[in-house]
Structures are given as structure tokens and as C-alpha cells.
């Protein structure tokens, strides 16, 4: 890795001012934060001006009706003196980053440690904390991922070994992915509910549907990756199909498997979150919908941040597993 990125750094070092020469990703994140803080001002200007007017500050078009029809930037420039509260308003349209972080702290650590229903006082996770909701989502994600991955590997093994399955199932697997599955989400939940299945399973079904396809595609490629020479060697041993599968095809498909598992687990998380929208029984998706009903934007952003962190964590975990496995198998130094 170090050698690969080295020439780029050297070629680039002269052209940039010193403070920008931090690792580029950090620079980009800082730039995004700056844009966010600036964007907060025009996004919230109307609410802030109304509040300022009530507090007795002179506001440029004095009537709220006039202000409603004006552009946000025009209002900002005419009232630069009254914008002090932009980054601390109560129900912002766009909360500032620090407001989201405060909400995140309040609804995770603070709620669990000091809340009446927190884990310290009651012994169970508080149902008002994001930790609890994240666990609900994670359960569905894992179950769906497991079903999807097993189904995907099974289908791939079938497709590689049977020409009929290859020709008849593969086109439909592709078509199945062009169907916007989330359109089916409320449907699947209602159907499963009416036959008495509820809770984790319906969400897991949606997760599984989203995660099986990358696994099928990756595994079919992986199982077919041994070259003709290796297959011929197995034939000279007169190895049965099962041994070819376990001793040659499966081991050589492992890198492909992990590449698709990383995509699949991210898709599986999206599936779980979408599956939580129709049933309001906890989970990050339910939390987002609740936030949107009650105008608690900071709550939505906090739930989004937790979802983002979960996605990063899950992909990272699979990548770590991949490194360990490949190193054990001698495929990676």
C-alpha cells in the first residue's frame, strides 16, 4: 500500500498549500463540514427571523408573509444582524453538525447512563435510545444476510453444475433485481403478518432478497474461476464432482465470495431499514419515520449517522475477516 501511494504524494506535494496537505480524505471531510455550516444559515433563515422578530429585533421585511415569498439568500443578506441563532435553533430545517452530535450523545450515552429507562437504572436498553434501535436493525440485518448469503451460495453451486438452472434461473435472478424491492416491503410484511409471522422475519426476508443477488453473481464467477489446467488435473485424478467442488471450486471462489459479501451486507442493512418503515416497532427506520412525523430533524440525522456508522463497521468487519481468511489460505501475504 505504502509504495503504491508514494509516487502520487511526491508528484503532488509541491502544488498544494501546507494546510491542505493533510491526508486528502480529511481535507474533503473538513470541506464538507464547512459547506454544511454555511448551508444551515439560508436553510433555516425563515424560522430564525421569525424567532428574532418575536424577541424584538428589527427584521428587514417586517411581515412574515412577505418573507415567505422571498428567496432564502436575499433574506440572509438583508438581515445579517439577526442570524445569530441559526446554528442553535430549536426545530431547524437543517440542524448544524454539532446539534446532530449533541442529539447523538443525548440519545445514546446520556440516555443509557442517566435516563430513567437506561441500562444503568433498569438493566435493559432504553427503548428511547439509538443503541436499542440499532440492535433491532442489526438483528434483522444479520438474519437476512445469513439467509441471503446461504441462498446465494446454494443457487450459485446449482447454476455452475446444472446447465438447465444456469439457463432458466440466471435471467430471472437478473430481472428480480430490476424490481424495486422496497415496493414489495410493506406488501411482504402485511402478507407475512396475515399468516401469523411478524417481528424479525419479514424484515429479514427483505434483507435477504436484497443481499442474495450480489452473492449469486460473485459466486458464479468465483466457482468458474479455476482455469482449464486445474480442472484437467482434477479430471486426471478422476475426481467426482463433489470433490472438485470442495477441493478446487470452493477454495478458489473465496476472494470472490468476500468481495460480494461486502456488497451484500451493506444491501442487507438498507433492506432492514426499509423493512422497518411500515411497522413502527423499533429500529433505525422507525426512528427516522418518527423523526419526520414530529419534525425532529436532528433525530433523523442522528439515526442516519448511526446507520452510516453501522454500515461502515459491518463492511470493515467483513474486510477484516477476508484478510484473515486469505492470509490463512496463503492467498495474501
Amino acid at each position: 500500500m505504502a509504495e503504491a501511494s508514494d509516487p502520487g504524494t511526491r508528484a503532488n506535494a509541491g502544488g498544494w498549500p501546507r494546510w491542505l496537505r493533510l491526508p486528502p480524505v480529511l481535507g474533503m471531510v473538513l470541506a464538507l463540514m464547512a459547506i454544511w455550516y454555511v448551508a444551515v444559515v439560508p436553510m433555516n433563515v425563515k424560522e430564525v427571523l421569525t424567532a428574532a422578530e418575536r424577541a424584538g429585533v428589527e427584521v428587514s421585511p417586517p411581515s412574515a408573509v412577505d418573507r415567505r415569498d422571498m428567496g432564502n439568500w436575499a433574506l440572509v443578506f438583508r438581515n445579517t444582524h439577526a442570524l445569530g441563532n441559526s446554528w442553535s435553533s430549536d426545530r431547524p430545517k437543517l440542524p448544524a453538525p454539532h446539534q446532530v452530535l449533541v442529539e447523538l450523545y443525548d440519545s445514546t450515552i446520556d440516555e443509557e447512563l442517566n435516563g430513567r429507562r437506561g441500562i444503568v437504572r433498569s438493566g435493559t436498553l432504553s427503548n428511547r435510545s439509538l443503541v436499542y434501535h440499532a440492535m433491532v436493525t442489526l438483528n434483522a440485518t444479520f438474519l437476512g444476510f445469513l439467509i441471503g448469503a446461504l441462498l446465494g451460495v446454494g443457487l450459485a453451486v446449482g447454476i455452475v453444475h446444472s446447465r438447465v438452472m444456469d439457463m432458466s434461473v440466471m435471467p430471472w435472478a437478473i430481472v428480480s433485481q430490476t424490481i424495486p424491492i422496497v415496493a414489495l416491503a410493506p406488501m411482504i410484511i402485511v402478507v407475512l403478518y396475515s399468516i401469523g409471522v411478524q417481528g424479525l422475519i419479514p424484515k429479514a426476508v427483505i434483507s435477504a432478497y436484497l443481499s442474495f443477488f450480489p452473492v449469486v453473481v460473485g459466486m458464479v464467477k468465483g466457482l468458474r474461476s479455476p482455469d482449464a489446467m486445474q480442472m484437467d488435473l482434477m479430471r486426471t485424478y478422476s475426481a467426482p464432482t463433489a470433490s472438485v467442488l470442495t477441493k478446487l471450486r470452493l477454495p478458489s471462489s473465496i476472494p470472490y465470495l468476500f468481495a460480494s459479501l461486502k456488497i451484500a451486507i451493506a444491501a442487507s442493512l438498507v433492506g432492514a431499514i426499509v423493512g422497518e418503515l411500515p411497522v413502527q416497532k423499533g429500529g433505525l427506520g422507525a426512528r427516522m419515520l418518527a423523526g419526520s412525523y414530529y419534525g425532529q430533524t436532528a433525530q433523523i440525522w442522528a439515526a442516519l449517522l448511526v446507520a452510516a456508522a453501522l454500515a461502515a463497521l459491518l463492511v470493515y468487519a467483513i474486510a477484516a475477516l477476508e484478510r484473515r481468511t486469505l492470509r490463512r489460505m496463503g492467498m495474501m501475504p
Partner: protein, 283 residues
């Protein structure tokens, strides 16, 4: 019960026919390649109909295909309105705008090594995020109309498209770029004659991924608030009325338009990247 036995018979018949076709003498002709998946699909549809009728499954749980078809034919005008609202206004406009913006950003990013090394990991990270979650926020900002749906779609397609285009633009080898330099080609000429064509397979890969994402974004955004038409609205209200025929018709519309959308992009890809290794084999 007899209907269920018929279903099993149908399966044996359909699958047997497929086995015969797939291993028969005509196995590599185009007709067989088309026929096998079609027979498989029709067999499944037939079994669905027979089993649902044979086991007397309540239509609330799973309506038979014939009922869905009838409901589809009855509500054509309503469904057309939903199609225009969700697919044409919401998904398509967002798709064009989002992919176009991502493409232009990629050209910009490509000119600066710093931007590329900063934005690419960030873009990869964002592409894996559940961006669907921003739907409630965007609906709050842009209102219930199709504009908010288009905004969700823009956000969803932007990062996958950006990452793919940037990866595609760095696809040329040093040798090819050196050749362009010996011709004294300008940046624009190099881009137009060498790097864009080389990037096309990646660009189309991004466009294909985004075609599905666009529909998902547009439909999910409607769950958070919409005017009284649109596929997402139709699905959520029809479920409330237990009008499952209508629900499945709306799903059918979204499935058909999703497949058609993807198919069009794939067709354009085949036309424009006919030289690529993955297309040369199947002429």
C-alpha cells in the same frame, strides 16, 4: 387437491422440457436461450395459479395471477397516472440530473489528483450508505410533489455514478496516454478520443446500477408523503384497503418499468461498447 397435483405435473413437464432443450442439439441457438427462461417463468406462473386455487389461499395473502391481470387491465388509467408521476417525473428526472452531475463532477475530480484521492474513498463510503434514509429529510425540504422524489433519486445515484466514472477515467494505461502526448493532443482531445471511450464500460456499469436505485428512491420517498397518486402512494393506500389486486398491479408496473429501464441502458451499452471483451463473444 387435483389442482395441486396438476401444478406438480406442470412443473415436471416444464422442467423436463427445459432439460431437453438445454442439453439438446440446439442448445446454443438464440431461440433456445430465449425459450428456456420463458418456459421457466411461465411454469412458475402456472404453478402459482394452480396452487393458489387448489389450496384455496385467501386472496389477501396471495392473489392468483389471473386476478392480478384482471385488476391491472381494469385500472390501466390510474396506473398510467402513477407511472407518469413516479417513474417519468420522479425517477427519470432525478436519474438524468444525478447521473449528469456525477459525470461532470468526475471530469472535474479527474483533473486534480488531490480531489481524486480525497473524494474517491468518501464516495465509496457514501455509496454503501443507506441513503434511502435521507428521504424524510428531503420530503420535508422540497414538499410532497415530484421534486422531493427527484431529489432523493439524485442523492441515491450520485455517488455510485461518481465512483464508477472516476474509476473508468483512470482506466487508460500510461502507454496510451504517452501516445496521445506524442501526438501533442490537448486535454480535451485526449478525453474525447481516448479516455471517455475507455471509461464507457464503467460509466454504463454505473448507469445500470443507478437505474434500479432510481426507482427504489422514487418509490420509497413516496412513503414519506406524496400527492394522491404515484406507485408508492398506490401501494401503501391499497394495502390499507386490503385491495391486493391493486397492490400487485402497482408492483407489476414498477417491475415492468424497472426491467424496461435496465434493458434500455443495457441495449445502449451493447451499442456503444461493442468492442469490449464482455460483448465480443456473443455476436
Amino acid at each position: 387437491m387435483t389442482l395441486v397435483i396438476f401444478a406438480v405435473l406442470l412443473w415436471v413437464l416444464g422442467f423436463g422440457l427445459n432439460v431437453m432443450l438445454a442439453n439438446g442439439p440446439a442448445r446454443d441457438t438464440g431461440a433456445v436461450r430465449l425459450a428456456v427462461p420463458l418456459i421457466f417463468g411461465l411454469t412458475i406462473l402456472g404453478m402459482w395459479e394452480l396452487i393458489v386455487r387448489g389450496m384455496q389461499v385467501s386472496t389477501v395473502i396471495l392473489p392468483p395471477p389471473s386476478l392480478i391481470a384482471a385488476s391491472f387491465a381494469e385500472n390501466l388509467s390510474t396506473l398510467w397516472g402513477d407511472f407518469v408521476q413516479t417513474i417519468l417525473k420522479g425517477a427519470l428526472s432525478g436519474y438524468i440530473f444525478g447521473c449528469g452531475a456525477a459525470f461532470l463532477t468526475a471530469l472535474l475530480v479527474d483533473r486534480s489528483d488531490y480531489l481524486r484521492r480525497g473524494l474517491l474513498p468518501l464516495g465509496n463510503f457514501m455509496a454503501a450508505l443507506p441513503i434511502v434514509g435521507t428521504a424524510p429529510i428531503l420530503v420535508m425540504w422540497f414538499g410532497f410533489g415530484w421534486q422531493s422524489k427527484a431529489a432523493v433519486v439524485v442523492l441515491m445515484v450520485y455517488f455510485p455514478m461518481l465512483v464508477n466514472t472516476v474509476a473508468g477515467l483512470s482506466e487508460t494505461t500510461a502507454m496510451q496516454r504517452d501516445l496521445m502526448r506524442t501526438y501533442a493532443a490537448t486535454w480535451g482531445q485526449t478525453l474525447w478520443t481516448l479516455r471517455l471511450p475507455a471509461a464507457l464500460p464503467f460509466v454504463f456499469n454505473g448507469l445500470k446500477i443507478c437505474s434500479t436505485l432510481a426507482l427504489i428512491g422514487a418509490i420509497v420517498a413516496e412513503f414519506f408523503g406524496s400527492p394522491t397518486l404515484g406507485l408508492g402512494f398506490r401501494i401503501s393506500t391499497s394495502i390499507g384497503q386490503l385491495d391486493l389486486g391493486m397492490v400487485w398491479s402497482a408492483i407489476l408496473v414498477s417491475a415492468l418499468s424497472g426491467t424496461a429501464f435496465y434493458g434500455l441502458v443495457a441495449l445502449a451499452e451493447r451499442r456503444m461498447t461493442f468492442w469490449h471483451a464482455s460483448h465480443r463473444g456473443d455476436r
